[in-house]
Symmetry: C2
Subunit: 267 residues, 2 copies
């Protein structure tokens, strides 16, 4: 769904004025009993004026995992997702996530044995595929593995300012960085060069899906990989990922940090 920048800007101004009118009309009522539509279907049938509010609720439901497994961004929320990135709120959100992660990391007394580790996912955690997704409907199209892998092997994904900063700060504190990705072992070389181009270096391990991992659900594969690191003696203090399947399962880190991702869901 395309949207024009100037059109969305005019809409914002209009929405702000209408919000004022609506809010004044509601201001004498008690919040818990404000009349609300009773289902998602009801919400989706409302005028465009409420779309932004609904999509904000949808995005929160996605980030808290209340939405569970979902296939594509709802059509009416595609513009909201685009705006979320274009207007910088995603970057601001990730910046705050990185600050909390770093504040936690600074409380840890490292063992000095080189086994204090921090796990990072790669796609949408260290590398941004927004250039791909913005050209493919901002998450509104079903996952196309052929097209996506063609993009991956170009090796031109950008880093996030927040993740580069977090990655480097953790290294400086003495953490060993373990990269754990759903990418295939065959993509090791292009992934390494893309990571370096994006500003990352000096990781301890780069774990990709091998032959035996094919077909495994992400949460199982990633849990097994983390467990193998624990068996090697690593203490997994922190884990940063954009998918709940990066963070749940077994052998979880002491603290997990969820990077926002309203573009896609990996079960």
């Amino acid at each position: 769904m395309a949207f024009s920048r100037s059109g969305s800007v005019s809409f914002l101004i209009l929405a702000a004025f209408f919000a004022v009118l609506t809010n004044q009309a509601l201001s004498s009522r008690v919040t818990p009993f404000i009349e609300l539509p009773s289902s998602i279907a009801d919400l989706e049938s409302q005028s465009d004026l409420s779309v932004g509010s609904y999509c904000e609720s949808w995005r929160l439901a996605v980030e808290t995992n209340n939405a569970g497994s979902w296939k594509v961004v709802p059509t009416k929320c595609v513009s909201s997702v685009a705006i979320y990135y274009d207007k910088g709120q995603f970057a601001r959100d990730y910046n705050v996530v990185a600050n909390y992660a770093l504040a936690f990391a600074r409380t840890i007394k490292l063992g000095g044995d080189g086994k204090d580790a921090w796990v990072f996912d790669i796609d949408e955690t260290l590398l941004s595929n927004l250039a791909y997704y913005s050209a493919h409907g901002y998450g509104s199209e079903p996952y196309n593995s052929i097209a996506f892998n063609e993009w991956v092997v170009e090796g031109t994904a950008l880093g996030f300012r927040a993740s580069v900063r977090l990655f480097n700060a953790l290294k400086k504190l003495g953490f060993k960085i373990i990269l754990l990705t759903g990418r295939d072992e065959g993509q090791r070389s292009i992934t390494e060069s893309n990571l370096r181009d994006a500003g990352y270096s000096g990781w301890e391990r780069l774990l990709l899906r091998g032959h035996k991992d094919q077909g495994k659900a992400a949460v199982q594969y990633k849990s097994e990989q983390r467990e193998s690191m624990v068996k090697l003696g690593f203490k997994l203090h922190g884990n940063t990922g954009d998918q709940w399947s990066d963070l749940e399962g077994f052998a979880v880190a002491t603290r997990s940090f969820k990077v926002p991702n309203p573009l896609y869901y990996i079960p």
Copy 2:
């Protein structure tokens, strides 16, 4: 921190116009590399114009548990929290949570043995203490157990439209409702009458903290109580709570639904 309704409304309009100017200035830049402040301290030193964006990031960090344990709402975000409730976004968010919970509940084939259960927390999940918190700084004041318990025994907390709807729909589907609260056993009677006044009835169990539970961390107490229900043969399909300590630990439900709560954190 007090704020005037008309003042905040004027601010919204002003903020919308400034946002337009700012966004146009940024529109030629690539999102992942937009210049951002490098710490929470930097963010907090910025002008009021960015406060809304920061507080949105803070609230997302709280809801995803990225913020971990926190004591009080940051001073600069108190107005944002008040607006979140007053302008209805909280109610809209909860409505969407309830829709996802109900959509999941409808996928479950019930056993017909009266053991299919759904767990609800009470405060800020079924009953709103917003009247108390709005009179006590919207989460900006440290928890005052004496003042809060005086409010609880008044028994005048309101229900949320979304939770009353979810509660009744789950009952109608045949789920047994288990209420699990950090409230004290001594508050059983007032809690029951408050729940009825707020529109709830026909729950299967109401579990409160007894003598042996005093001093236990919420996640331990609630996990033990859920486990005791599992031992009685209940299948815990869903769990709805506003705290991560309602939803984590052991004997967790198949699906957990996080109700937004930017007012306080219970470790």
